[in-house]
Amino acid sequence: MTAAKAASLPQMGDYDVIIIGGGIIGAMIARQLSKFQGRFAVLEKAAFPGCGVSKASLSQIHLPDFCPPGSLKGRLCRNAPARFKKLAAELEVLYREVDELWLALEPAQVSNLEVAKARAESHGAAGFEIIGPQRIRELEPHVTPEAVAGLYARGLGVIYTPEWNFALVENAVQNGVQLHLQTEVVDIGKTKDGIYRLSTHQGTLTARYVINAAGLFVDEIARMVGDGHIHLSLRKGTMLIFDKSVSHLARHMIFGSFSESHSQDIAPTAHGNLILGVHYVKTDKKSDTQVSREGIQETLKLGRQLIPALSEKDVITSFAGILANSNMSRDGDFSIAPSEQAPGVIHVMVGAPGLSAAPAIADYVIQLLGDAGWRTTEKADFNPRRRGWPRFETAPMVKKQQMIDSDPKYGHVLCRCEQVTEAEILQSIRRGARTMDAVKHLTRAGMGRCQGGFCAPFVLKQLANELGIPPTRVTKNGPGSHQILKMTKAVADN
């Protein structure tokens, strides 16, 4: 995963399969693909994988109660929680079980719950029940007294997507997949042997099969292979994170109503905050992740309809993500299909619940590769296990002492809000974090209530020390995003 491990580009030569995009879908495909023999690569344009749409999501693992009967997405997310649970054990990443409570706030909405229950059951998901107001109050004392009924289901989950994204890529690399960071594909051509030539700012790479998992940029990659008919329509969704002091307000994944302009959803995050979403507005810019005052207010309004006690003063941060809908998608279903123009290229276009379906999407893509002529042979020495590193904050006291015994730097808490230790920060850098944001997403240093107010200077110094670069070259998230511009006069003069 380190830069040193990435092969230098010009000699890198041919791959069997190149995956464009190192987000959660690309990472999942890479990891599942690494079970097979072959030469595979992931091309990611950012300094760290998973910094696009994958990062800016609710990070929820759903059951198929959102998916129409007979839909591909319903089929692919049928066993989502079970698959994620298994992967969590293999990859040593966080998976937190959360139950679902979908509320009807007026009698007219009760039929929505019945329809959702029927949708889930059409995909073979059992255990959904419709409950009344009293039961709702028992489960969630802080929800609005207006709730007349709820759809209740057990065993959904929440994850922290950037952590999973990193772990999947790391496990794929462990099993022989090459990772190319800061490698943006700018053009795709073809040799006379039918091999695809991918031009990047870092040189040209060739492969027989190309998987287009470029997320928001799937249409631009498609155009490079002649599929100019793919268009995306974009919506920007605003989400809010709350201080842990109000986490008691919601213990379930609580849903309300859904429309073009909102998904009413409040739930615990994997790390125990509450996350509230989503207010949507149309946008035509893929980089439009600006949060507006209106977006924040509207999102809060959605939340307060479900839980009146939610307050603006407990919001610690807000962010926006882009949801793309492809014109290839029918009724909001996934579109995962071979290119019409370019044999051996597969376009992966998924909206929600793409994260939940990701493991099955990977299997499906590999099946499509087989259909396209690629011979799958399982590797004898595939290692499904990736070692995580323990988090100090959530470890029980006995374990904490063992951690300090094995590495005293576990006793040095640098991020006070999330109790992240120096050992964890060093571990993240040694495992591949190169930017402030990467350290933050891998360790949570700076994600708490003070948002890095105290620990950011320490993290900056650690990055500079470990990478052997001056502090002025440390960035937030890649070239151009430098944290500090120079040294003070006194330091510069020495």
Partner: protein, 417 residues
């Protein structure tokens, strides 16, 4: 983990409150005490406050932050105060059991007869005030920038806008100017400055830095590094005034939009917090509602002057001594102190009339030519009062002795004449 160690007094935080509390506690004969400090050096935030203006009350001279801290550090050392550095207190509970961790000491448990909370405060981050826009590099809180410049030697940038007229922001406007940066403006959403007048004069006026009252940063621009901000005027309801938007180019935005007492440990111990101050409810000994747990300095309420923070540490140390000696009865006849709608904050919130009391009061809105009243026992005229300047009133013990024993409430109010 080893069995719990016993302490008469644990002090959490070695800033100006904690160090003064430790020194006073030693002077009062409490031998068995430890100060826990999470940073690598004692002094709290003072080592990065290299400007002067500290110590006028305590030392009758103008000191810099590091000088002020060093005086206390030296005095504490002379009294053999044990300060455990790089040590984080992870938990305390209502029975005063404390768990601390450090690289060299590992995890340790302490059973304490008394605890003084002196953790200070933190800055309100961008997310808490919800500034719209992109999320580029180059946005810092003022205190974060102060640490970078004065401790690490890092210059955040060359062209700076500062949102909020909190004192740290004003100090950093001057500091960055002296380092060669151009500070384009300080914006303040209120129609009045939220910092001390002396800082407004010495840090802004003297350097011709504009203070834009009733203005705010409405949007942040820039993808990788911040490239500028949109500043707008706001009305009395803080809504943007249409047509007043102005783009200001900058590579750095500092936020100085309020300080929040850092009470996470207090909450773990079951200490009840006052929503007005963000700190604990305390009595005149600065004892919280949890017997044996005291709170002082900026974790109790954000102060204006460091000298007063230290004085609060001393009051808490006296209280802790009484508690250890069993001299603090769990009083039943508490008198509630209640501010009316003109009062923003008041500490202490309850008293039991056992000793002299220093009330600290912030008005809710600026006032001119007013009268401050505490029940019918105290009255004082003032020329002006501002939320950013704390008023202090000290009432001797005899005032309360004279009061009717049935008194359960004292109303505090400010009225314009």
């Amino acid at each position: 983990m080893a069995p719990a160690l016993h302490l008469d007094l644990a002090i959490i935080g070695a800033g100006p409150a904690g160090l003064a509390a430790a020194l006073k506690a030693k002077q009062l004969g409490i031998k068995d005490l430890v100060v826990f400090e999470r940073d690598e050096r004692p002094g709290g935030i003072l080592p990065q406050c290299i400007h002067n203006g500290f110590g006028l009350q305590k030392f009758k001279e103008e000191l810099t932050g590091p000088e002020y801290a060093n005086r206390y550090i030296r005095m504490a050392a002379d009294h053999d105060v044990d300060v455990e550095l790089d040590t984080m207190v992870l938990e305390i509970d209502k029975n005063r059991t404390l768990t601390a961790v450090s690289e060299y000491g590992g995890l340790r448990n302490y059973q304490c007869k008394s605890i003084i909370l002196a953790m200070g405060c933190r800055e309100r981050p961008r997310g808490a005030i919800g500034i719209p826009g992109t999320r580029p590099a180059g946005v810092f809180t003022a205190g974060q920038a102060q640490r970078m410049v004065n401790i690490e030697g890092y210059m955040p940038g060359d062209t700076v806008v500062i949102q909020g007229s909190g004192d740290v922001g004003l100090i950093m406007a001057r500091r960055l100017t002296l380092e060669g940066a151009e500070v384009k403006a300080v914006t303040e959403i209120q129609p009045y400055s939220s910092g001390l007048i002396r800082n407004e004069v010495q840090c802004l006026h003297d350097f011709d830095i504009p203070l834009l009252l009733s203005h705010t940063v409405a949007e942040i621009h820039g993808d990788k590094r911040i490239e500028g901000v949109t500043v707008t005027e706001v009305d009395a309801g803080w809504n943007p005034v249409a047509g007043s938007e102005k783009f200001m180019e900058c590579d750095t935005l500092l936020l100085s939009v309020g300080l929040i007492p850092e009470n996470e440990l207090s909450k773990m111990a079951g200490v009840a917090l006052d929503p007005q101050t963000g700190g604990a409810y305390v009595n005149e000994f600065l004892e919280t509602a949890v017997p044996g747990i005291f709170s002082c300095g900026n974790v109790l309420h954000v102060n204006d002057y460091v000298d007063e923070v230290s004085t609060e540490g001393e009051i808490a140390a006296r209280g802790a001594r009484h508690r250890i000696k069993g001299k603090l009865s769990d009083e039943k006849n508490l008198i509630a102190i209640e501010g009316d709608e003109t009062i923003g904050q008041i500490v202490p919130q309850t008293i039991n009339g056992q000793r002299q009391v220093t009330f600290t009061i912030r008005v809710k809105r600026p006032m001119e030519k007013g009268t401050l009243r505490i029940g019918d026992i105290f009255e004082k005229k003032f020329a002006y009062a501002r939320p950013s300047e704390m008023m202090r009133v000290r009432l001797p013990k005899k005032v309360f002795v004279e009061m009717k024993p049935t008194l359960t409430r004292l109303n505090v109010s400010c009225e314009e004449r």
